[in-house]
Symmetry: C2
Subunit: 278 residues, 2 copies
């Protein structure tokens, strides 16, 4: 008997993955959560029927949400992650030697607990790392209570439905601006250019209302809808294209390279049109 | 009643697309051919159960197999396409003003006929274009009979199963080398870095045995397995990174830009490792 996990990525596009085991299923306070094991992508976390991360391709997302921000800021010491309860983004952040503190603010504590149990290679930095603080708390509340505090804020959210809707709003981005130090910067995951072009356009508009520098860049993630994913940076001072890629300390990665960071900001024509959108 | 087209991209990964119409199905002399209409990607050509092209995302593949080659060669006049019976690659080639002749050699004449009928926006250049010659012929035979003839050869093949197996062999690449003029270059589609890494490694090895310059680059194609696709150039003289992108004539595109051409050669770390492979 074959078992398959099927995700309706859009009403007319589905990705199906052959499963070898269902590890855990529950309804948390915030969302439906499943840990499953697939033949092609290994163990994965699924929230409200959408793949969040898999042990086989998680490196792309976690490296590409973290490293462009942490190399663009010349001296990131205090870093905040909103969401990201699986811990992969925190794992990447603490590869940067300047980082003194990395705080995770995840609204759903069950994601943290179950990631530690079932995805230990992703959640590895959530235990026993003195620089890491894990808070089970509403990210919007945390942002509103923080002023002039962080060098870098990464919004590692789920899709803009359910608990994450507020994480794509103008008010939230203004809160992030205020929570950043005067030379701080942020990066948010901003969905697929093929399937969610309107969202990329509106996030770019909202961030340009607040930040002097806004830049969308791309990465390829096979388990995410369309396989192409966007991230958008808002920055008060520093720019990706000003990074001197020949003078960076090196870290261990499987996807990210400094050259690829610059290349990922060179957008296909149709994506240029999305971020330009008036 | 809902109808879905499901493609087993690997034994454990399937992509399913909601269909609105089955336009045509037949077994040709060479392969199983279907023309279907999907809600998300419009009309598409499916060969032996694998999506070849869709009217919604075909622009990525056709622009990215053609334009890097035609901009890297400073004066491409005589261009050959092996395969590519849907005509999309030919349509892109003749956007370059230096091109005097573009020859399509497709083994399966039914692809050409049915693409003209069902995918007219892709096949548009296959009729009424004086620069275009269409031959229904075995690509390997055509290559073996051509010496010192072409400026650019594009291998727009299906997957390396069935009729296309020989199009990934060392002998075929040697034949292409001989069919090219002394400063000629080729590009072949070389599958997904996530799912077909071994193929990318072996094509790179084979081409490096023959051509002094070999370069793999990437593009994002949602209907292809993993969403990330590779192309590999073999060149006798000219290099992508030597193209002066600030002094190029412009052509109309939806994906390609000269900056993106250079950026597409900056590979993720794990793909660098595939092309390096000894």
């Amino acid at each position: 008997m074959e078992m398959w996990y099927t995700e309706k990525q859009t009403p007319s596009v589905s990705l199906s993955l052959k499963t070898t085991k269902t590890l855990h299923v529950e309804q948390t306070e915030f969302q439906h959560l499943a840990m499953i094991e697939t033949e092609a992508f290994g163990r994965m976390l699924v929230l409200d029927g959408m793949v969040q991360t898999s042990v086989v391709d998680e490196f792309v997302y976690h490296e590409m949400i973290a490293h462009p921000a942490l190399y663009t800021h010349p001296n990131p010491k205090n870093v905040l992650v909103i969401g990201g309860g699986d811990g992969g983004t925190i794992r990447e952040i603490i590869k940067h030697p300047s980082v003194e503190k990395a705080t995770l603010v995840e609204i759903d504590g069950r994601i943290i607990e179950l990631s530690k149990q079932y995805l230990p290679e992703i959640a590895v930095a959530l235990t026993g790392e003195p620089k890491v603080e894990v808070k089970v708390e509403d990210g919007i509340k945390h942002i509103n209570e923080s002023k002039n505090t962080y060098d870098v804020i990464l919004v590692d959210s789920t899709e803009p439905v359910g608990p994450a809707v507020g994480l794509f709003s103008q008010d939230f981005y203004q809160g992030i601006y205020d929570a950043l130090k005067e030379d701080g910067l942020m990066v948010a995951q901003t969905e697929s250019p093929f399937f969610n072009g309107d969202l990329i356009t509106s996030v770019n508009k909202r961030l340009r209302n607040i930040f002097p520098y806004v830049k969308t860049y791309l990465a390829s993630i096979p388990t995410y809808p369309s396989g192409l994913w966007s991230f958008t940076m808002g920055s008060k001072k520093y720019k990706i294209e000003d990074v001197d890629i020949n003078n960076l300390y090196s870290i261990e990665t499987k996807y990210f390279t400094p050259e690829l960071m610059l290349a990922s900001t060179k957008l296909p024509k149709f994506v240029q049109d999305l971020v330009k959108g008036e």
